[in-house]
């Protein structure tokens, strides 16, 4: 299926069904990342139950240095 991730169209395997599955696919599951799906900001606890579907718009963000 195709997902819009951080502004880019990305093709991912159809076996991915949840946000945490998606993070595992990109090896981000052990990282401090925050996810927004279709403009909904997701609590860390809900990542494993939140579904991803073809055409979803996702933002995957992290903390970087800043003042």
């Amino acid at each position: 299926m195709k997902l819009h991730i951080n502004g880019d169209m990305v093709e991912v395997p159809d076996t991915i069904t949840t946000v945490s599955g998606l993070l595992e696919h990109f090896e981000l599951n052990n990282k401090v990342v925050m996810v927004e799906r279709n403009e909904d900001i997701l609590d860390k606890e809900t990542l494993s139950e939140t579904k991803v579907e073809d055409g979803d718009k996702l933002e995957i963000v992290q903390f970087v240095g800043g003042g």
Partner: protein, 255 residues
């Protein structure tokens, strides 16, 4: 002790984490600064490079309170979104509201800052708005319920120091919440002056990260902030126009 909302801190130095030459230098600078609060910002991740190092991973998160900022936001709505994204990490409840209204001066947009502060307070955040040194704006932010007021000393990253000590002292005098001087600090002397004026803390980044020796500067800032605070608590002497002898004038044999 610095109290912000329900949080208590020993150090009065809040340290930014941007623009250090390398992680090793940054780690040492953070250590010697003895800061309790580190600021961060939220940005898109490069999902195709998961092994990309991140400074956060090098920190003992038990030791530090994270203060994400909303840098990059131009509107209250964007600031609220950044704050919520940061909170979704489960690592922080505090937020530094930063809504920039002008890309050249990086001065905060007062109207959007007020709006974002109000909204984030409703959402239950501990809110520290970065503001200009406008005295009435600082009061309005406090009236909304901001947990600390963070007036800039001078434009972000400019290193110009405190360009309006009078306004800053008015803000400090009127505030019932901590006042943290944020942005524009260039040297340890600037930080000490802010503290001598009665500020409760100083937030700085570039003054340390872009110094020739960031680790040494981090220590200098720590000491300056401690010295300035002690000086404020001790109470400086009033300035006089003419001299007053330090040695006694009585008991001179030749007069």
């Amino acid at each position: 002790m610095l109290k912000i909302g329900n949080f208590e801190f020993t150090s009065r130095l809040l340290l930014g984490t941007g623009k250090y030459p390398d992680f090793d230098t940054q780690k040492k600078a953070v250590e010697v600064s003895e800061t309790d609060i580190l600021t961060f910002t939220v940005r898109r991740m490069n999902i195709f490079e998961p092994s990309q190092p991140n400074f956060l991973e090098k920190l003992d998160l038990e030791k530090y309170t994270l203060l994400p900022n909303t840098a990059g936001a131009k509107t209250a709505e964007e600031a609220v979104r950044f704050a919520k994204l940061a909170k979704a990490s489960g690592l922080c409840d505090m937020v530094k509201v930063e809504v920039i209204g002008c890309q050249k001066t990086l001065l905060p947009d007062p109207v959007e800052t007020l709006k974002a502060t109000e909204e984030l307070l409703k959402e239950g955040f501990t809110v520290l708005p970065y503001t200009s040194d406008d005295v009435l704006l600082a009061r309005r932010l406090e009236e909304l319920g901001a947990h600390a007021i963070m007036p800039g000393a001078s434009p972000i990253g400019s290193g110009q120091g405190i360009i309006n000590p009078l306004n800053l002292s008015f803000i400090i005098e009127q505030s019932n919440v901590p006042v943290i001087v944020d942005a524009g600090i260039g040297s340890p002397a600037d930080a000490a002056i802010a503290m001598e004026l009665g500020a409760d803390g100083v937030l700085l980044n570039t003054a340390v990260s872009a110094a020739k020796d960031p680790v040494k500067m981090a220590e200098a800032m720590k000491l300056a902030i401690e010295a300035g605070r002690l000086g404020f608590e001790a109470g400086r002497i009033p300035k006089k126009r003419y001299a007053t002898a330090s040695s006694p004038v009585e008991g001179l044999s030749i007069g």
